[in-house]
């Protein structure tokens, strides 16, 4: 999604100075040039540009409307950012932020020297890479397949079914898997009934990567097709016709028309996924970490949770969390830069 933010137009600067000099809420008298700019602005935004005070008076109900959300974010998103100071302290809940001793970067050097932390990093990156290869292409293939259906009713019905699991909670999804593949689940029951060995799927660290990826596919691959379907419906049918007239068969049309039509969406989602590399299904993993053990299931988020909230090593966990947050931010910005270089619009445009 490209989020367009209003670029400050040249006339806005003129308005500002004018409002200051006249000091009144009246329409500022500016030069002829910015008058035309203003008229242009009027056409674009539908609201005449006025002095700052006048604009506040005119728009104050809009500002008040946005206020509750801003306040909530200030408290629950921005205050915690400040709360990251505990990463530089030896924080104890009994002493509080103000009186906990400052320790500089000690927590960070402890984190970097901790093999458990590196294990969590490794697991996180392995899961991300694995799912990029085995999960990411599935919605694309499904969308193309679904789009080739001629009957719109059938298509809508299948869409309705495959979107559904996205709305189930992770607890529910893992429970469903437990019931089917668990030690006492459907699969093992029927294996035993036919005299075969039961297989261990839910608690086996060696196959854990496959397990969580299939869970993720079951839950979200269907939902993932929604954006590809939208992109597919935006491809001009005339392109297919022209290709067909030129003798391209179905596969050639897919390669030369369909896939190029999906390119920008694929790039965009790839960027988002890469920027999000360090977050892998937190709830999903925390639900199953006990069953398969930390060796296979410890990722960065669970590491922070267990060291901090469970073991009370607040400052240490906050340091690990802060490292993750900063690297994630850098990844998003870098991925977006790459997208711009490739001529795609990326997550946000400048």
């Amino acid at each position: 999604m490209t989020i367009e933010t209003e670029k400050p137009s040249p006339s806005a600067g003129g308005d500002k100075t004018a409002a200051h000099s006249s000091g009144s809420a009246r329409e500022p008298q500016t030069g002829k040039k910015s008058q035309t700019g203003k008229r242009l602005q009027e056409q674009v935004s539908g609201r005449p540009r006025a002095g700052r005070l006048a604009r506040f008076k005119r728009d104050r109900s809009l500002v008040f409307m946005a206020l509750p959300a801003v306040l909530l974010l200030a408290v629950f998103a921005y205050l915690p950012m400040l709360g990251n100071v505990v990463a530089f302290q030896d924080y104890s809940p009994f002493i509080g932020f103000a009186d906990s001793p400052w320790v500089g970067l000690d927590n960070f050097s402890r984190v970097f020297g901790d093999p458990d932390f590196w294990m969590a990093v490794k697991n996180t990156l392995v899961i991300t890479a694995f799912q990029l290869v085995f999960f990411f292409p599935i919605p694309i293939a499904l969308a193309i397949l679904l789009n080739s259906l001629i009957n719109p009713r059938l298509r809508a019905a299948i869409q309705a079914v495959v979107y559904l699991p996205h709305f189930f909670s992770w607890v529910l999804v893992v429970s469903v898997f437990q019931q089917i593949f668990g030690g006492a689940g459907l699969l093992n029951q029927s294996l035993r009934a036919n005299g075969w060995e039961a297989v261990d799927v839910m608690t086996n660290p060696d196959t854990f990567l496959f397990l969580i990826t299939s869970q993720a596919i079951w839950k979200d691959a269907g939902w993932g097709i929604i954006v590809f379907l939208a992109a597919l419906s935006a491809i001009d049918p005339a392109q297919y016709e022209a290709a067909a007239v030129d003798g391209a068969g179905p596969w050639k049309r897919m390669w030369h028309v369909t896939l190029p039509g999906l390119r920008s969406v694929i790039v965009l989602l790839l960027i988002l996924r890469l920027g999000d590399s360090l977050s892998v299904g937190f709830e999903q993993l925390i639900l199953q970490r006990d069953a398969v053990g930390a060796e296979a299931a410890e990722v960065l988020d669970t590491f922070v949770y267990y060291t901090g909230v469970q073991n009370g090593d607040w400052s240490y966990a906050a340091a690990a969390g802060l490292i993750k947050g900063v690297i994630s931010l850098a990844l998003i910005l870098a991925a977006n830069k790459v997208a711009h270089i490739f001529g795609e619009s990326g997550v946000y445009s400048k």
């Binding site: 109900s61 946005a66 998103a77 719109p152 939208a230 922070v304 969390g321």
Partner: protein
């Protein structure tokens, strides 16, 4: 998303294969339906057997050796048992209460904010928008969030399940995108007639945005209903646990479902009890989903694309 969404197909007309398009071969056709059939079965199969097991009698379950695939004797004993007071009943009430309150609050705050930001060039538009967007790129992390909630004294209150997750910037952006797409002429004429922004919002914009508000309300509602980790983090009093936490303890952690030990007459089978808890966690979603589902593409994609 910088793709242009034009729905080139009319949803309810049976579209024909284009004249230039060749009829796919038998193998291709069969393969296509086989794959799609398998996908649909993979989604619905587990749900079918879970629902069926939850309403099966002990005898049927024993005979099937676990999950029931072929309907046998049907009984609703499991539901009677878990819904006649006790842990599950209380958890359902907690979840319903939190979901209803939270969704209402989230919708009010988000719709107001989205409308407030729907006119670029209005006072403080850009700074406010940036305040929102930055939180999409950097989140403070679990530890500071926990410390904040605990220093606000919200631990072991239902507010801890609502306030920290009250707004999703993503949802606001979708709503905003939709509001921005509403024909300016309509809004301008309302203003000419002397309607305030509040009135324009409630009497013109909202009635025009039913599909997108329904979808966003579904997103928020599902979020609250499914929230599991917030409760693990912020709620220590087991009497206040929402349904997801209870589901986890019964199905994944092997805690005995209350009443499971009674072997008295009419007692429900233990797999049936577990399945019944799973079904309870699904039911609200299955109830709301069909009504909102058809608006997904229309409501969400257009909003996101314009966002």
């Amino acid at each position: 998303m910088s793709i242009l969404v034009r729905n080139t197909r009319k949803p309810d007309s049976i579209s024909q294969r284009a004249a230039w398009e060749e009829e796919p071969g038998v193998v291709a056709k069969a393969g296509k339906f086989l794959i799609l059939g398998a996908v649909v079965l993979a989604v619905l199969g587990p749900l079918y057997t879970i629902v069926l097991t939850s309403v099966s009698s002990q005898a049927t379950i024993t005979q099937a050796g676990g999950l029931v695939l072929i309907p046998g004797e049907i009984t609703f004993a499991a539901y009677q048992q878990i819904l006649s007071g006790g842990v599950v009943t209380r958890a359902v009430l907690v979840s319903v209460g939190v979901t209803a309150t939270g969704t209402a609050l989230s919708m009010v705050v988000s719709v107001l904010c989205a409308y407030g930001l729907s006119r670029p060039g209005s006072f403080a538009h850009t700074p406010i928008l940036f305040t929102l967007l930055i939180t999409m790129f950097f989140s403070a992390g679990i530890i500071p969030a926990y410390l904040l909630v605990s220093s606000l004294g919200l631990i072991n209150t239902y507010w801890a399940l609502i306030l920290p997750s009250c707004i999703s910037v993503f949802n606001i952006i979708i709503l905003r995108g939709f509001f921005m797409g509403i024909d300016r002429g309509i809004l301008d004429s309302a203003r000419m007639d002397g309607a305030s922004d509040w009135r324009t919002l409630t009497q013109i914009v909202l009635p025009m945005s039913k599909a997108v508000t329904a979808v966003i309300a579904l997103f928020y509602g599902v979020g609250y209903w499914n929230a599991f980790f917030n409760a693990v983090l912020y709620i220590n009093d087991s009497a206040m646990n929402p349904l997801q936490v209870v589901l986890r303890s019964y199905v994944l952690q092997g805690v005995t479902v209350p009443g499971q030990i009674d072997v008295g007459q009419g007692a429900a089978a233990s797999p049936a009890l577990q399945m019944a808890v799973i079904v309870l966690a699904m039911v609200p979603i299955l109830l709301v989903y069909p009504f909102v589902q058809k608006h997904f593409t229309k409501g969400v994609m257009i909003g996101a694309v314009k966002g």
